[in-house]
């Protein structure tokens, strides 16, 4: 399988102490790769380094076998798209305007979309099921709808890798599952490589092809959910009591954090 992202000995620090320490990691093409770990473990930092927002202090980063430094801003934007945690825009853009902005790296200097661009945007809106909202402005949408608009915008960018930062954080359970289903569909139908940061270990276990468990900047484990999610390791990392049993649908671990009164 082809490697989409390849990280070697990568370190990152905001000031003195390293947020990421000598990270080595490969993500393959068409993976649904989910990064989990406690707060402050460096998940979002890792995602931002891959997105090119943050520059690593040392180490190497390759995207599809090509050194990161060889990408121009635009060619990187045509390869990687980011869906923000909670995208907010203070200005009343309509849904279709916002989705079309995803075409930016593909446009010429003056930035006028052609018919082809409109068709791509239209398709992206159909895929994310926001076609009926296209003339609404962003402030008229619910959280889940807004999230789908930003995903449509990312699809419109026609990347090969799509990065998501805690996309389910502010959604209700039905929308959480819908979003994960959508990402799985995109992976299958378009062939995206999906890299996602998530706090929801159970959702991650059900969807991820592989999981990355991060703890204070160090990789604790990479692999299939059933290999990574064992009770001992999770209890050590999250520093709380857990119940790990089997999900009745398939051979997947199910994690329940235990409140003090149950122990």
């Amino acid at each position: 399988m082809k490697k989409a992202v390849e990280i070697e000995n990568l370190s990152f620090s905001y000031s003195d102490n390293d947020i990421l320490k000598n990270t080595c990691l490969s993500v393959y093409e068409r993976e649904f790769f989910i990064i989990i770990g406690p707060n402050g473990s460096g998940k979002t930092t890792l995602l931002k380094v891959i997105a090119g927002i943050l520059k690593a202090r040392k180490g190497r980063l390759k995207i599809f076998g090509r050194s990161f430094k060889k990408y121009t801003r635009k060619s990187l934007a045509k390869t990687i798209a980011l869906v923000p945690q909670m995208g907010m825009v203070d200005f009343p853009f309509t849904v279709s305007e916002l989705v079309l902005m995803g075409r930016f790296p593909h446009l010429n200097m003056l930035g006028f979309e052609q018919k082809k661009d409109m068709e791509i945007a239209s398709k992206a809106m159909a895929l994310t099921d926001i076609k009926h909202l296209e003339h609404r402005t962003m402030d008229q949408l619910s959280g889940g709808e807004r999230q789908r608009v930003f995903i449509a915008r990312a699809i419109c960018q026609e990347p090969r890798i799509i990065l998501l930062d805690e996309p389910t954080a502010s959604l209700d359970i039905a929308h959480q599952v819908k979003l994960m289903d959508l990402m799985e569909k995109l992976k299958e139908e378009i062939g995206f490589t999906v890299i996602m940061v998530s706090h929801d270990v159970n959702l991650a276990a059900m969807y991820a092809t592989r999981l990355l468990l991060l703890n204070s900047g160090m990789i604790e484990g990479v692999g299939k959910p059933r290999d990574i999610l064992n009770c001992e390791m999770l209890e050590k990392i999250y520093k709380c009591k857990l119940l790990v049993d089997k999900n009745p649908f398939g051979d997947l671990p199910r994690i329940t954090p235990l409140p003090l009164k149950f122990i």
Binding site: I53, A81, L82, D90, P92, G111, E113, M118, E119
Partner: protein, 336 residues
């Protein structure tokens, strides 16, 4: 295909033509109305090159009204475009060169230039530009880092920068005793009456390249509104784009400030109205702000000339009377 208005270019052209028509009508009104009324027929004849029988009317049209209307148009266009750009860069619909104190800074520069006896161009223009860059720098330091995005920090910083600038201006004014005092005070309130056609020409030559550059960056402004990190992942060089936008905008604002003094809130009123009507796409808003802002300022100037029984009020009084209440309304609404 169900996306309405598929080609952005067509929308830009349609809206621009519409606003251009409005601008021409307003310009004709601006030239024909005033203490001496000039009939539309006579005006059109004069514009088409026929000499007027009455040489005094001819002088009024070509030496006084026409330059003044052109100046008002250019100033309105610049200030509302300036407001639009600042709102995009700072991601704050309440940002505006006057409110942020940028105009005040260039006013200090301009007054120092006037007092030291420099000519309006290039001397005073350059000191005004230096003044505006200095306040811009001050503003960015005061609200640096993440807090730049917080609306109130930025606005409060702007108010303070403005207060500081006013103090310096008052200091400079109080040190002045001769005939220049009257000029400075009138100019501080915003004044379009002191200019001839050559000066307007010079101003236009300075402003047009700025308008073109800003239009080329208009889609980048759309992307910047999505946030720095998002814009970066979409292929924008944030630092370069922001620097170009800030410098070009400060330059053009200070150029107009040294010709017409302080005119507040134009950059707030026009972009807000245009957004309500045409949406938030800056590729449309940039040309629309230029044409619409020009029309707005010509109307304000006309009101300043026509409303009082005798003489005229400074046009800055009119723009502030319209703009300040709107600012309060917008602030109240954005808090909700």
């Amino acid at each position: 295909m169900s996306i309405r208005s598929p080609f952005i270019l067509r929308r830009i052209i349609t809206i621009s033509l519409l606003l251009l028509f409005v601008l021409i009508v307003v310009m004709l009104a601006g030239v024909s109305m005033g203490s001496t009324k000039i009939g539309l027929k006579m005006l059109l004849q004069s514009l088409l090159g026929e000499k007027m029988a009455d040489t005094m009317l001819d002088t009024i049209v070509w030496q006084i009204r026409f330059p003044r209307v052109l100046l008002a148009g250019l100033v309105g266009a610049t200030l509302s475009l300036g407001g639009l750009v600042f709102q995009a860069i700072l991601r704050n619909p309440l940002a505006e060169p006057y409110i942020l104190g940028i105009s005040g800074g260039s006013a200090i520069g301009a007054i120092i230039g006037i007092l030291s006896g420099l000519s309006r161009f290039p001397g005073v223009s350059l000191t005004a530009f230096a003044g505006s860059l200095a306040t811009l720098f001050l503003l960015l330091i005061m609200s640096s880092g993440k807090s730049l995005l917080k609306k109130n920090t930025l606005l409060l910083s702007g108010v303070m920068v403005n207060a500081f600038c006013s103090a310096i201006i008052m200091f400079l004014v109080s040190m002045t005793y001769d005939a220049r005092l009257h000029n400075i005070i009138f100019w501080l309130m915003g004044d379009l009456s002191m200019c001839d056609i050559n000066q307007v020409g010079i101003l236009a030559l300075m402003l047009l390249p700025c308008f073109i550059i800003l239009f080329c960056y208009s889609h980048s402004m759309n992307i910047i509104l999505m946030g720095n990190e998002m814009a970066q992942t979409m292929g924008i060089n944030i630092r370069r784009v922001t620097a170009v936008l800030l410098i070009v905008t400060s330059f053009m604002v200070s150029a107009t400030v040294c010709y017409c003094g302080l005119l507040g809130f134009v950059g707030l009123v026009i972009p807000h109205l245009l957004r309500l009507v045409f949406g938030s796409d800056h590729r449309i808003l940039v040309p629309a702000s230029i044409l619409g802002g020009g029309s707005y300022m010509i109307i304000c100037d006309l009101l300043a000339r026509v409303l009082p029984q005798q003489g005229e009020v400074p046009v800055g009084v009119v723009t502030a009377m319209v703009g300040a209440p709107l600012f309060i309304y917008l602030l109240k609404r954005s808090k909700q």
